[in-house]
């Protein structure tokens, strides 16, 4: 039987909510299940803000979280009560059974468990205190209880707990005791037969490895597998963990990472390093990308390979640093002054983060330009089980070298060629000397602002990127669902595509002819592929997480076509139900349509 179970743990920052979620998803991944998981953090570092650890455990990789959970754990009723309605009928609500005396009216979960939901009040605090002498291990007690309740192999949990507390012996010991207390308690309670874990399905090809990682970690892995040489960055949520991970991994491989004084320095150093032939990158979020705009233009006109990983958060300005949004698309694609075409790729899942993270270096070299990899907080922090191939699928060197051309003086760094890419020399190479300049220049790289040259060089910078639309071994866009003409076609980008895919599959289940296309390469825009798809669609729906529909704008700038925009700014992933409802409406099957029928 295919497994599809979603678990949410809700508590406050001090409850170990996220830590419990981390152990739980590692345990499931270790057992061989597919996991997709996305946590919610409070904006403040300290205090008692709300934390939610959520994961969906499946036999086949799921594309998004579900609207409702099958199991909900409350470590803090004040935070969990508003979410009680997100537990499905016959789902299990696990909460503290302890005293309600000192709580305000309605402050205890027992008053909020819905009629169809199954209450599991536990003495969580008592079990923790009895087993460890402290109440700090309440989160681990709950994990033991879940293991027992669902008959899951305790060994998988113990491994994940051991990994979490690898360097803290005392905590590891306490956790072991707390886990056992929860496990034993579960033996005394009634079992839930509505939520059942079937056996996991292994889809691993020999030589490849499966890991459960989040989008930022996948980008790091892609960058490392592509042979990143240097990294320069400045911390900013939600991109920081890219830099932090690279800081510990790169020196192990002889690489160099520097925390610069700001994002302007970071991108400047990337352009400097790119000039020398190194594979160089930086990572940032919207505010940093704003600061980088001028130097990115320099990378464009100087034709210097450079890679920027951008994880979006709510904007503008400092906006909502711990909330997700897809509102930096315009800046990524168009940002900065002048005609400054660049490559922008936006993966739609964690596996895509790995691929884009590595491919970005290939493209930067092959087309001699800045490449932006655009993700968002949701994808940065979303965990998925990813199958990594045995050999990294990235080319080590995509440079077009001048060879003999350099010797044939004078060397033309910006030679106008048939495919608009000029052979590039790097410092240290005799005969290849040239000056990279932000001024408009001639083929030699000398400043020149004649109308003819500016036109020729502008054409070169734009036209050379077209080849990126055929970059080998890369998914620029992809269609899913029904083939041929459809009633509703979804076009989406980035993290939101997962919800679109789920919604599309559900709509098909309801008998609606439906398909969805993900667009990964945003600039240059794959107009041909997208317009061919749109020609098949009676109605086009574009869901995305920004106010106006920035992707819809981009699409309509390239393809003349009416679309329905579903643009929302809740600061969290879009709800599958909301997309589905819109599909129904467009297909003439909306609630109102049904009623009328």
């Amino acid at each position: 039987m295919a497994t599809d179970i979603q678990i949410s743990i809700i508590g406050s920052a001090g409850d170990g909510t996220i830590a419990a979620g981390d152990i739980l998803r590692n345990a499931f991944a270790g057992m061989g299940y597919k996991v997709i998981s996305f946590d919610v953090y409070p904006p403040e570092i300290r205090g008692f803000g709300k934390c939610i650890a959520r994961m969906r455990i499946t036999t086949e990789q799921a594309y998004s979280l579900k609207h409702k959970s099958d199991v909900m754990v409350s470590l803090d009723d004040s935070h969990a009560i508003p979410h009680a309605g997100e537990l499905r009928d016959c789902g299990a609500m696990i909460y503290e059974q302890g005293s309600i005396v000192r709580l305000p009216e309605g402050g205890h979960m027992s008053a909020h468990v819905g009629p169809g939901q199954l209450p599991y009040p536990l003495p969580i605090r008592e079990l923790s205190e009895k087993s460890t002498g402290a109440n700090r291990s309440r989160n681990i007690v709950v994990l033991g209880f879940i293991a027992g309740l669902f008959n899951l192999p305790a060994e998988g949990f113990r491994k994940a707990i051991g990994k979490k507390f690898r360097s803290k012996a005392a905590a590891a010991e306490a956790s072991e005791a707390a886990f056992k207390a929860g496990l034993d308690y579960a033996a005394k309670t009634f079992k839930l037969d509505d939520v059942v874990f079937g056996p996991p399905v292994s889809s691993v090809v020999a030589g490849s490895t499966v890991e459960m990682i989040n989008g930022n970690a996948a980008i790091v892995r892609g960058a490392l597998d592509a042979g990143i040489d240097t990294f320069f960055g400045y911390p900013i949520t939600p991109a920081t963990s890219i830099m932090e991970r690279l800081a510990s991994e790169m020196p192990k491989r002889g690489g160099r990472l520097l925390q610069t004084e700001d994002e302007i320095s970071a991108i400047s150093a990337v352009v400097g390093a790119g000039f020398t032939g190194a594979r160089a990158a930086t990572s940032t979020s919207g505010p940093g990308l704003s600061l980088m705009a001028e130097m990115l233009g320099m990378g464009v006109i100087g034709e210097v390979p450079s890679v920027v990983f951008v994880s979006q958060r709510g904007g503008p300005s400092t906006g909502m640093p711990t909330k997700t949004e897809q509102s930096d698309l315009h800046m990524a694609v168009y940002g900065g002054h002048g005609d400054a075409p660049r490559i922008v790729i936006a993966p739609t899942n964690v596996d895509g983060c790995y691929r884009c993270g590595g491919k970005a270096f290939e493209m930067a070299e092959a087309y001699q330009t800045p490449v932006i990899v655009l993700i968002d907080l949701y994808l940065s922090n979303r965990y998925e089980t990813v199958v990594f191939p045995a050999r990294p699928p990235f080319e080590a060197d995509m440079n077009r070298k001048p060879g003999k051309q350099a010797a044939a003086a004078p060397y033309k760094r910006y030679a106008l060629t048939a495919d608009h890419v000029s052979p590039r020399s790097v410092p240290g190479e005799k005969g290849g000397m040239h000056v990279v300049t932000g001024l408009e220049h001639n083929e030699l790289g000398r400043p020149n602002d004649s109308a003819e040259l500016h036109t020729a060089m502008s054409r070169k910078r734009h036209e050379k990127l077209k080849a990126a639309l055929r970059h080998p071994d890369f998914t620029h866009f992809k269609r899913f669902g029904d083939e041929g003409p459809v009633d509703v076609g979804l076009v989406a980008w980035g993290s939101t595509f997962g919800e679109c895919l789920e919604a599309m599959l559900k709509a098909r289940g309801e008998g609606i002819r439906c398909a969805a296309m993900k667009v990964v390469m945003l600039s240059p825009f794959p107009t041909h592929g997208v317009s061919a798809f749109l020609a098949d669609c009676k109605e086009v729906l574009v869901p995305e997480l920004n106010y106006e529909g920035q992707f819809a704008n981009l699409l309509q700038a390239n393809v003349a076509r009416q679309v329905t925009r579903l643009a929302r700014v809740p600061g969290e992933p879009m709800k599958v139900e909301e997309i589905l409802e819109e599909i129904r409406r467009l297909a003439g099957r909306g609630k109102s349509a049904q009623k009328a029928a």
């Binding site: 042979g227 610069t260 190194a278 410092p427 240290g428 000056v435």
Partner: protein
């Protein structure tokens, strides 16, 4: 202006030819106004590169934007003419990616201490192994003569038509306090001394900062002129001890009569050394550093 003479001598040119290296001056003629102090700087830099035997292709000259920043086009090396104020971080990237290169940064007072002022402390404290030549004319030359952060109080320019209300910065004092490991001052009107100082600065392992006083003959007819500077500049006292940072700072504070010479010098690990240290700490392998090959490449995969 009479004491400017080319330091790039015929014998040198012959020597270059014999060594198989190229002339360090490019065929592009400088676009500067006749008489501008910058001419003597380009001659001196070419002569120093020659003297230090730096192969042309191993030198990278990085600049920002300004009259001074046009410099890379006038030397026969690799070069980057970047953005206003961003030469230092770009150069940090160049040097971090390839230690084998000789990296020289050039730029104006506006470029380095107005828009790019935030980068100087960090290049200095990290001891990036580059040479920073700051061309201080106390004015924005390229944009036609506006006030700069080193303009004198009371100076009149198109953006301060009544007078400049701001007091000038003291770049030497700042750089000394930022932790630069080599700090000196020269004057474009004394080309021989300038050349010696540039050679020393480039020979120093670490962040070397040379402040070069240079007149803008076109837009400043009243303050930093050859005749005024000629009367003001003095040599550092003969007994100045260049290993004494506090003494160097005391000398730097007397900016009414600017002293030329080596203010401060110390040996300490460079940014490259520190980053190599991290590789060792992490148990990684240091990539071989073949001369001027992209240094990190070897470590891939």
């Amino acid at each position: 202006m009479g004491d400017i003479k080319p330091v790039y001598l015929e014998e040198k040119l012959k020597e270059i030819e014999e060594s198989g290296r190229l002339d360090y001056r490019s065929k592009t003629l400088p676009t500067w106004c006749p008489g501008c102090g910058y001419f003597s700087i380009v001659e001196a830099v070419a002569a120093s590169l020659c003297e230090l035997n730096v192969p042309n292709e191993n030198a990278v000259v990085v600049s920002g934007i300004g009259c001074s920043s046009r410099f890379p086009f006038f030397v026969n090396t690799y070069g980057m003419h970047t953005l206003h104020g961003r030469a230092l971080p770009v150069a940090t990237g160049v040097k971090t990616a390839n230690d084998a290169l000789t990296v020289v940064v050039v730029g104006g007072d506006g470029d380095g201490f107005a828009i790019g002022g935030g980068h100087v402390p960090h290049a200095a404290r990290r001891n990036v192994d580059i040479t920073y030549l700051l061309f201080d004319n106390g004015i924005y030359g390229l944009t036609k003569g506006q006030t700069s952060p080193t303009s004198a109080i009371g100076f009149r320019t198109p953006t301060s038509p009544y007078e400049n209300p701001d007091r000038p910065l003291n770049p030497l004092l700042m750089v000394l306090s930022y932790g630069a490991s080599w700090v000196g001052q020269a004057y474009a009107g004394r080309p021989d001394h300038l050349h010696k100082m540039i050679t020393q600065a480039m020979a120093h392992r670490g962040f070397s900062y040379l402040h070069i006083l240079s007149p803008c003959v076109t837009f400043d007819k009243t303050h930093r002129t050859y005749s005024n500077l000629g009367m003001q500049v003095r040599d550092l006292p003969a007994d100045h001890e260049p290993t004494d940072r506090a003494a160097a700072m005391r000398e730097a504070m007397d900016d009414a009569l600017p002293a030329l010479g080596l203010y401060f010098r110390e040996e300490r690990p460079t940014l490259g050394d520190a980053l190599d240290g991290l590789v060792e700490k992490a148990g990684g392998e240091l990539p071989g550093k073949p001369a001027a090959k992209p240094a990190r490449k070897a470590a891939r995969r």
